[in-house]
Structures are given as C-alpha cells and as structure tokens.
Symmetry: C2
Subunit: 285 residues, 2 copies
C-alpha cells in the first residue's frame, strides 16, 4: 500500500512528535527521500530516534527502508490524495490529473483482467469465419478501432454502430461467426438484444463489458475490465481506454497465434499505405 496514504490514514495513532514528522514528510515528500534522518529530524524539530520510531510505526524496518517505500510511492507520479478534477483546477492540474487517473485505471485493469479468458477469446477469434464488432454511443468508436485493427489481418470483419444494421447482421450470423459486443455498463438494452439474437443464430458472442451485467449474461465469453468507476459526470474515459488496450491485446494475440508468415502479410498492408503519405525525405526535420 502507498506509504503516503498510510501516513494520512494512521495519523490518529501518532503521538504529537510523530505527527510533526508526518506533516513535514507530507509537505515535502520529494525532499524527504534525499534527506538524512538527522536533517529530517531537524526539519520536524524532533529528535532522530523519534523519526526512526515513526518509520517503524509504519511497518518499515527503519529510516532507509522507509525512504525506499516513500520513493516507490512518489514514483507513480504522486497519484495519491485526490486525483479528481476540481472546479478550480488550471490546465496543468487537470491535464496531470487526467493522465494520471487514466494510467491508474490501466494499471488496475491490468491486474484484474483474466488472462485465461483473453486466451480463449483469441482462440475463438482466430477460428472465426467472420468477426463483427458492435458498439453504441461512446463504445462505437472502440468498435471502429477494433474493425480497423482486424481489417489489416485480412479477415472478414465488419463493424456497425447502428442498431438496425447490427440487428440484421446478428440475424444473419451463423456457426463459426464471432460477434464482439462492446459496452462499458453492459446495460444498453439494444445491445443485449443483439447479443441474444446472435447467440440464437449459433454465433459465438464475446462481450467486452462489465462483469455480471445484463449483457454479460447474454455472452459466450465475457472480458470484463474492472476499472475504477470515474465518478465525474463527463464520460467514462478510463474504461474506454482500457477497452482499446484490451482490443489491442486481442489483436496481438491473434497475430502471434497466426505465426510469422502471417505477419509478413501484415507488413504488406502497412506498406500499401505508403502511397497515401508524404515521405520522410520530402520533409526533413
């Protein structure tokens, strides 16, 4: 657990002098990790053993060990106290906060994602006759992204962000087809219907959605991303980024499974784009 948080949480158990130490550390954490115990003691106006006792109280082996823990906490860009955008935040503040909370969300997703399911999803995808990506609203752009990725693999892939098209496509699906439904909440009614229809028509349905949601129950395979809910009223940003990363992972797994010959093919697709671009030599840095 983060040492900074720990200090804040256990401030109640501290004695008067220990609290002085805590204050100084919380005020200048960066300085602390480069100070000796003597220097810190002086800053907090306490004795050296007090600082040492303070460290032990936080379940560290001593001052040097404490500094190590502190350094680790600070390394994560200090996303410790409050990383939510506030009314009065300036551009630096909200930029930093959004970057940091996105990174934190990815880290959380990384630890929660089920590798086994990913592997099975890759299995299913590699054997698919046709792959369809369906998403609505904000998830539509994720579906588009997925289509773009898999399209390069020279696999029959479609993507619809329109309920009617999705429905038609789902009805026409057959065994061997894979339908990927993307929804953060997993509560979008229309998408649940479509997942059900696809399954009735023997398609394999992969859900990139919340665990145990209505949509999840309609799916053959559920890839749930446990991202800390962004409470702000704007949009579920972090979860969408996590979804994109997940799709990238599936695509990567796909290419790896297909072997090296396949990857040469990929390079061709990439090269084919060259004609539409300015060459680097045309615009030297």
């Amino acid at each position: 657990m983060n040492v900074l948080e720990k200090i804040v949480n256990s401030v109640a158990n501290f004695s008067k002098s220990e609290r002085k130490v805590a204050e100084v550390i919380l005020a200048n954490p960066q300085t602390t990790i480069h100070s000796s115990i003597a220097a810190l003691a002086k800053m907090a106006d306490v004795s050296e053993p007090t600082v040492n006792r303070f460290c032990r109280r936080l379940d560290t082996k001593g001052f040097p060990d404490f500094k190590l823990h502190l350094a680790q906490s600070l390394a994560n860009g200090t996303p410790y106290v409050n990383r939510h955008v506030e009314e009065e935040d300036g551009p630096e503040a909200y930029t930093a906060k959004i970057f940091e909370s996105t990174m934190a969300a990815l880290d959380s997703a990384r630890h929660n994602v089920d590798i086994n399911t990913i592997n099975r999803a890759v299995d299913v995808l590699t054997q698919a006759k046709k792959i369809s990506f369906f998403g609505l609203g904000a998830s539509a752009s994720v579906a588009h992204d997925a289509q773009n990725k898999f399209f390069r693999f020279n696999v029959p892939v479609v993507c619809f962000d329109d309920i009617v098209m999705q429905r038609m496509s789902a009805i026409n699906s057959a065994e061997g087809d894979v339908v990927v439904c993307i929804s953060h909440t997993g509560r979008t009614k229309n998408l649940c219907d479509i997942a059900a229809i696809a399954r009735e028509n023997d398609a394999t349905v992969i859900g990139i959605t919340a665990y145990d949601s209505p949509l999840a129950r309609e799916c053959t395979l559920v890839l749930s991303l446990d991202v800390p809910e962004d409470t702000d009223m704007y949009m579920p940003m972090a979860s969408r980024v996590a979804q994109l990363v997940l799709i990238d992972i599936l695509a990567t797994g796909f290419t790896l499974r297909r072997g090296s010959k396949f990857r040469e093919n990929l390079k061709k697709v990439k090269d084919s784009l060259r004609g539409s671009r300015f060459e680097k030599k045309d615009f030297p840095a």
Copy 2:
C-alpha cells in the same frame, strides 16, 4: 529516466566488474533495494567500492541514492527492460507488455505535452461556432470519440472519416469555425490538403499530430504528443490512446471553462440516456 533502462543502455561503458554488478541487479532488482552494499558486492563477487563506482557511473550520488532511484523505477510495475512483444510470448507476457508500454507511453506524453497549447486550444474550442473532427483510418475512431464527447456539450460538432465529406466540409467552413485534424504521423496527404483548405476559408485548424510534420505546418495550433514510437509492425496503439486522453483533456478544459451552470446541462444529457438502459435494480448483483 528509468534506472533499469539506463543500466541496459549504458552497459557498453561498463567495465568487467561493473557489468557483473549490472547483471546481478537486473536479475534481482527487488532484492537489490533491500540489500546493503556489502551484500550486493558479495552477490556480484566484486568489492564494495566497485558497487559504489557503478552507482556513480549512473549519475547517482552513491549506493543509497541509487537504491532510491531503483525503487522508483520498480514502482511503475517494472516496465523496463524489453517491453516489446516477442514471437514466443504467451498470453500473460503480451498482455502485461501491452498494458505496460501503453502506460509508459502515456507517462511520456504527459511529460511532453505543452500545457500552454492545450490552454489555447481550449480557448479556441470554447469560442467556436462549429467544431469539426477529421481523421482517416485509425485516427477516424479518435475523431468519432471526440465527436461523441463534444456532442454532449450541445455545441455544433461534426465528424467525418471520408475524404470527400471532409473536403466539402472544409470548403464550407468560415471564420469562427474550428477544424481538428487528427493524424499520428502527420503525413497523410489528403488530410494535409483538408487542413490547408480549411485555413484558406478562415477556419482555425488544430492539429493533433506529430511535431513539425507536413500536417503540423498547415495548422494554426499544433498539439503534438511525443510518444515513443511503437516499432512493432502492428499498429500505433500507444499514440492513439494518448490522442484519446488528449481529447478528454480538451473536453474537460472545455467544461471547466464553461462554468457550473453548463455542467448541469451535461448531467441532463447523461440522464437522458437512462431510458435506453436496464436499471441497476432490474439486475441486482
């Protein structure tokens, strides 16, 4: 910079004994931060001063300082040595690598993005009569995402992923209109043309693209994201995620600038979606 990387990169400048130290540290970084200089020296089968010299060579003040840096590097989920997906990687490996390299890219983008330009972009966007998002190929999904975000703000916003529509839209733009062109490389010819056309018609053109690229030169304002180039042949994943985060930042800046009354309006939009969803109570966990 990450100490682990630094060790790997500067292994050429090391002497024989120093290399031994490097190997031991790279093999057990976690052990290292809890070892004394004597213990580490013994593990690497060198003398203590050699370890100390090793630390200094990496621009640290000494062994304790080195441990601090090492601890910080390890804190970031160890995204250090080789975070590129390899042929023989299993699901755990490539999943971890993709998450980590994405996070590393975000971190890098965070440190390189120019807050000043962000602020100016927000200025421009808040005053726009109409906002258009243009992207092609992989960047199209980013444009869609942007449209989706800004649409909620009740601002006239459009998004085209089709050259012809983009062209028509660009020609019809007028003073006060803002055109946001999204391209990772900044070398897509068609998009450069469109940026030029939009500018000729007095629109403000914001580019989310590479610094000093052909597209960048056509723009009024350039938001460049310095993301470490993903060298794999698959797709520029990391940069796209960074673009999304950037757009989220712009959207956040936008809402903050508009004040609290505006944000109540946002909540209404969100509430309006409720009808299309299953309520939580319908599906208790």
